[in-house]
Amino acid sequence: MTSLAVESAGPGEPSEPTERASGEPRHRALGLTDDELAAIVERLGRAPNDLELAMFGVMWSEHCSYKSSRLLLRTLPSGGPGVVAGPGENAGAMDLGGGLAVCFKLESHNHPSAVEPFQGAATGVGGILRDIVAMGARPIAILDALKFGPPDDPQVRHLVRGVVRGVGSYGNCVGVPTVGGELVFEASYRHDPLVNVMAVGLLEQRNLMRAAATRVGDLAVLYGSPTGRDGIGGASVLASATMGGAGGAPGGGASVGSKRPSVQVGDPFAGKLLMEVSLELVAAGLLEGLGDLGAAGLTCAASEMADRGGRGLSIDLDAVPRRAEGMTPDEVMTSESQERMLAIVAPERLAEVQAVCARWGLPAAVVGRVTDDRLLRIVTGGLDEHGEPRPGATVLASLPAAALASEAIVHDRAWRAPVRRRLAPAPGAPQVVHDGLPERGMDPGLVLEALLGGPELGSRAWVSRQYDATVGGDTVCGPQHGAAVLRLKATGQGLVMATDACAAVGALDPYLGAALAVAECSRNVAVTGARPLGLTDGLNLGDPTRPEEAWALREAVRGVADAARGLGLPVVGGNVSLYNEADGRPIAPTTQIGVVGLLDDAARHVEPAFQAVGDIVALLGTVVPGLAGSAYAALAGAAPDDRPPTLDLAREAALQQLLVAAAEEGLLRSAQDVSGGGLAVAIAEAAIWSGLGVSLELPVGSAPAIELFGESPSRAVVSLDPAAWPRLAALARQHGLPLTRLGTVVDSGRILIRLVGEGATGAAEDRGAGVADALDEPLAALRSAWERALPRALGEET
């Protein structure tokens, strides 16, 4: 006789939450509200028992359920030609032709990294790699997007060192190159660093796996590291609540230190074995379904795989391999121990699966069976061959899988625009042509040197040197540039990938910040000549129960949706990280975007660095006013009524199409996107990377600061053989894009930009006599400032 250890409260009866010794109702300690508990009771028709409540606690967490964002995310364009797998799978996938697909996804590990930077970042890398592997794809690249507070803060320096070491330790060990990313310092991230990691994998489409249990009678096999007590509550207590200050300041969440046990611990060696085992099992056709164990551990993997397959799953709790004594059922079911996968295996293939695991030295155990009742049942005392409890066994939990997964609660959060927000002017509105900046006495050369020598725009070598960027033997263009280029050995194609955010603009206007991030990221891919294929997004915001943050979330999603539609890019996956705030101060709304593009021939990629003396340097696109949110404004101050530059998506799309077309015709020697630090920094970078100088004339229509340092989008600096000029000019006309010839690449060892035109004269007079109306700097000084910037900012200069 089987007993059911569910304390039934009966349908419709008011629930009585279990009280803990502290007096706090148990559901609240698990991160559930009273309303959410009521919704659980309604779905079950009874009160959940303690184990069931713990399972709901993690599955209905913001992190796992996307309860505050799910309604909004449905508005994102996610389909279209070439989409092999879209949102809802472990990662998105786009067709590459020839039976191949590229899998990619961006994911956050913000809260764990705030608490324990090394482990938080390392397990962030491990987690996103497992998502790629769960699709049946081999990870081929990692990109890390990191945001920290001001680098002169010792605690921030501690976080930077720990996070960079953590990312490196995992990626370097598993042998997946870290080929790009970004590093941003901004005050709002002081207590809430953002660690967003993007992983890219290569999939043979015949190996495409789904995280689903579809066949009744199949076995659930858990393989990888044994289950321990680490990471319990990671999804709920840690990832779905605000962080307190260092000491648990009033108004904040629990103190950082008290959350340390909720951080998972990574073992990259086990992660490497897990990856090889999984790919071998997939390639041999031994698996029916595959899911990774990340947030909410076994509960999440089991309930989602059952729900996606429209089946049930019975789990034999006693069969779960463990590394700690005396674990309770809810500890086993919610542990976020790393480096574990759950496979669905046909019974006749079990021996082969076990043999592969044994050869690599990984424990594997049959922990359950697929049933036809759509229930996730947790049993102690054993299962029979139908997944039913053996005589004398006890059912510890019995829940509809959908109630935990696809039918989890959804909140349409109340929202309100903040009163003092500043918006970019609406398209077509009259634009004020002055920058209103304290320009008197500005020396553009000194500004350029200060920008290149600052933590925002200086060389990232201090970070990228800690990452193995060349393992795998396919890295054509690695870190430091706007996008990375990887060659595919099988086909000679090039995969191009980038990740960007525009948080400073997002702080002023979350819609524009998100749309600009999509535009910039896609542009970074297009400047290499690659066709952007699709994107993944990481939305990082504060507490969604506050109406201003709920508004920012809506605006960010709207920005991604509009820009993705405008550029014709499907959003094939993503991640939402909320509650990024400490003591009531949220981070700047940060929409991190990852884009992957395709080159038919990797050898034909366009480099960002100038290539040859005598080449023409030209600007594609035009400047629009607005310095707010720019690096220049951060350095020199922004006028109070200034705004960020506007984004014209049609023009952006035309620019990207032109860049791809020009590259296909072989017209471009180099191409570099204009973004942080504006045109002057884009030119300086292309010069520093090449060692070649430039001699240019820049027509100034409005103000020198806007022309040189403004960050208006939809622009690229290109260089080309003079013989290619007529054809490029014709292409630009055809795409309706302004093309301005600026000058030539020279071997002067200097960057010379003469400011010409009415705007320059006026500004020069305004600035007073004796101030140069040209930017003229030796490359060596700029390079030195650029190279020393980051070590100096972090106090690491030796």
Binding site: P268, A469, V471, R487
Partner: protein, 226 residues
């Protein structure tokens, strides 16, 4: 020439080494660490990675893998062995090469492109490298600082057993004594180096200098057979 690339659990440059050996014209096979059988390989490559996780000390556990007995026997009989990065660490732990590789002087993992001076061109590993050629290769390691007591290092240099040195302009990435990047065994048939020649085998990847090392080995084997 038949090349065997050993796969330890945690090796992560094994596929790159196979690719490089094949590009150089060799037949290349993977050798699982648990089988003490080299399958007739004339050159055995111990690839880069983190064999067995390197949690104790880089290379410290890999030397106990069953295949290492076969590698030792192969080396003792004058067979060719090449250890790259972690493979170099394993060879020093196994005492098939002298010295030890400590944490980088920066105490950080260092990935960057370096330049190597080649001290001799009469070895199986360098015969096809034109005199005066500097090799441009990437390094990627946390423990690559080569150390050996001074008198022993003097002796090693005197016998021409320091085959590769880090050179300017990039210089020494890890603090290795006397800029040592790669060394030879007493009989000159076992070589270990920290940089990754197998990642620099095509101009598209930034350099094909590493191919010269693999070509040296393949051409040498062809001469032997002739």
């Amino acid at each position: 020439m038949k090349v065997g690339v050993i796969v330890f659990p945690g090796s992560n440059c094994d596929r790159d080494a196979l690719h490089a050996a094949r590009l150089a014209g060799a037949e290349a096979v993977a050798l699982w660490h648990e089988r003490p059988d080299l399958q007739g390989a004339e050159l055995v490559i111990l690839p880069g990675g983190f064999a067995h996780g390197d949690y104790l000390r880089a290379g410290a556990l890999a030397r106990f893998s069953p295949v290492m007995a076969a590698v030792r026997e192969h080396a003792e009989q004058g067979g060719l062995v090449l250890g790259i990065c972690n493979g170099f660490q394993v060879l020093t732990e196994a005492r098939l090469l002298p010295g030890a590789l400590l944490r980088n002087a920066s105490l950080r993992f260092e990935h960057r492109w370096v330049r190597l001076a080649v001290t001799r061109h009469d070895t199986p590993f360098s015969a096809a490298i034109p005199a005066g050629t500097m090799l441009r290769l990437p390094v990627a390691h946390g423990e690559g600082c080569y150390v050996l007591p001074d008198p022993e290092l003097d002796a090693l240099e005197a016998r021409g057993r320091v085959l590769f040195r880090y050179a300017l302009p990039e210089g020494n990435p890890n603090g290795s004594l006397r800029d040592v990047a790669g060394v030879l065994s007493e009989n000159g048939r076992v070589c270990g180096l920290m940089p990754h020649p197998e990642r620099a085998v095509e101009p598209l990847l930034g350099s094909d200098d590493g191919l010269l090392l693999f070509r040296s080995l393949v051409a040498g084997a062809a001469r032997m057979a002739a």
